[in-house]
Subunit: 326 residues, 2 copies
């Protein structure tokens, strides 16, 4: 990896990856349409002469193709990551995830770039029967348009690996948290508690069990695997890894951590039901044996990750003004 | 099912389904863009007052939405079914399968239609480790753009079932053959033997093992399952069925049947290798226990199906002139 192209470079995970690669002395081309990305996240990177930012949209294939010129590796992180509101605008996942991923692959092909890392999601397992869920779980039934669009992306990537000798690493993430986190339950809860510290509305019954991974651990895992270069020798040229910790928490535990850290005792108001919204999966916990067997390990527990996230949100309340839709 | 909408109504499977439904006294709206469909296949149907043909393309969402008005069930069979040449035009599967399926779902939603049957493929299992392959096989790695686009379609359909309370039946077909067959190895072999009865070129080593299903059995299976109406009560509102026979044949066996029926002894020229082309799966054999447990069964063996197909091709050699690309 010498010249690295990152889609979604101004996003939560993307901008953390940019900073890490620059710290490692790599050259990076960042690509973002700033629909949800934040210029502020790239302030440091933009001072580095090894970083080039190109503003553009994955749906503009000619511009994307031009922007990728000279790169040898692509981290495709740009996505509509809005699982919860998928049903309100069904074409968004198709456009910004499925078609966008196709364009990334075509731009790579036009430039002779073969290596791709892709941010997929643990949601592709649907409501898995086997928990913790391994990479080779049963063929799942998709329950959200978001996960369906990620499965579509995975399928195209592996087909390009088989057909065009690409080398692909597909990472199925649990929810990621940490610095620059701008989306998800901690974001929502902290926002509520800023507005009314005495009460907290919780979607569902609070018993949903979820797994979270600290963003720096997520970045480390992707770089670790890409540096191993195992995809080249893998069957069909593609490696698939679950990314997560070996623990999970109940939403109620998470609330406990948050309120404890803030010194608050809000009245908890549950909307009820086992699912927070249609397509919400009440239990996500991935088997991460495969990635751990490569030598990678996490640096923070979920509780520590939540603490770090909260600390960052407290210091960066501007993110609430910059996002109209959480 | 009172008023039934069929995409790909002028195609191989679509036109056979149209005829069957009309024979059963149903009202049918046929939709086709005639990119590969044949007007001749609808000659009989067009004489029936219960049949209405609307020419249009799945990528034209307003026209599709208008055409579907008044229907209560959709059989979405239109697709780019060209597995072998996917790499020559990678956008074709995305457009004609993935995006087209999204449009079908959106047109249904606009019309308040909830029931959908979808022709997926056994190729979605990739190179399955478990053979015969059951519906809940391991999460597969896609090896063709065609199968990737069908997985994308399956994912969107099941998400609409979960999110919009659609009722979906997804059928994963083996290769289908029989009357109006215009695509596949028997089509190719017979064409070659018409041109030069003394020699036959075979892609791969002839040892590939495949399963085939007679088109009338395929149509019966889909109607049988749709009439059961089990999707409504199924988990997530979706039922997935493998469709195939409980046997498979080697390509070499198939050649034996064909040459025997034609009384020819061509010189066999193998291109070599276990795969006929990049992404070809050397062994496709589906576990059909689930569909058989509903009471459906096949009427013809693979050998009988091949015989029926060959007979139809002999009587309908015009199909070779009507198709530029086999």
């Amino acid at each position: 990896m010498n010249q690295i192209f990152i889609t979604g470079a101004a996003g939560f995970i993307g901008s953390n990856l940019v900073d890490r690669l620059l710290a490692d002395g790599k050259s990076v081309v960042g690509w973002d349409n700033f629909s949800t990305g934040q210029r502020k996240f790239l302030e440091g990177a933009l001072k580095n002469s090894n970083f080039k930012l190109i503003e553009g949209d994955n749906l503009d294939l000619p511009a994307l193709t031009k922007a990728m010129a000279g790169c040898d590796t692509v981290f495709h992180l740009a996505a509509n990551a809005d699982v919860r509101f998928g049903l309100e605008h069904p074409s968004k996942d198709l456009q910004q995830n499925t078609i966008a991923t196709f364009n990334v692959l075509e731009a790579m092909r036009a430039n002779g770039i073969k290596r791709i890392a892709f941010s997929s999601t643990g949601s592709v397992y649907g409501e898995a029967e086997k928990i913790p869920t391994p990479e080779d779980a049963s063929f799942p039934v998709q329950t959200s348009l978001y996960a369906a669009s990620k499965v579509a992306g995975e399928g195209m990537i592996s087909s390009y690996c088989e057909g065009f000798k690409f080398e692909g690493c597909i990472f199925r993430f649990v929810s990621i948290l940490g610095e620059r986190y701008t989306h998800g339950h901690i974001f929502d809860f902290y926002k509520q508690l800023l507005e009314h510290p005495d009460r907290l509305k919780i979607l569902g019954d609070g018993l949903q069990r979820k797994s979270y991974l600290y963003v720096q651990d997520c970045v480390s895992a992707m770089l670790h695997v890409m540096n191993l270069g195992t995809a080249k020798k893998a069957k069909h040229g593609v490696e698939i890894y679950n990314l997560g910790t070996d623990e999970y928490v109940q939403v109620n535990n998470s609330i406990g951590y948050i309120c404890g850290a803030l010194g608050l005792k809000p009245k908890l108001e549950y909307t009820g039901g086992s699912r927070g919204w249609v397509g919400d999966n009440p239990f996500i916990f991935l088997d991460t044996q495969k990635i751990r067997s490569t030598g990678w390990k996490t640096s923070l527990t979920i509780e520590q990750g939540i603490g770090r996230t909260l600390q960052w949100l407290q210091q960066n309340q501007w993110v609430y003004d910059s996002r109209s839709h959480t």
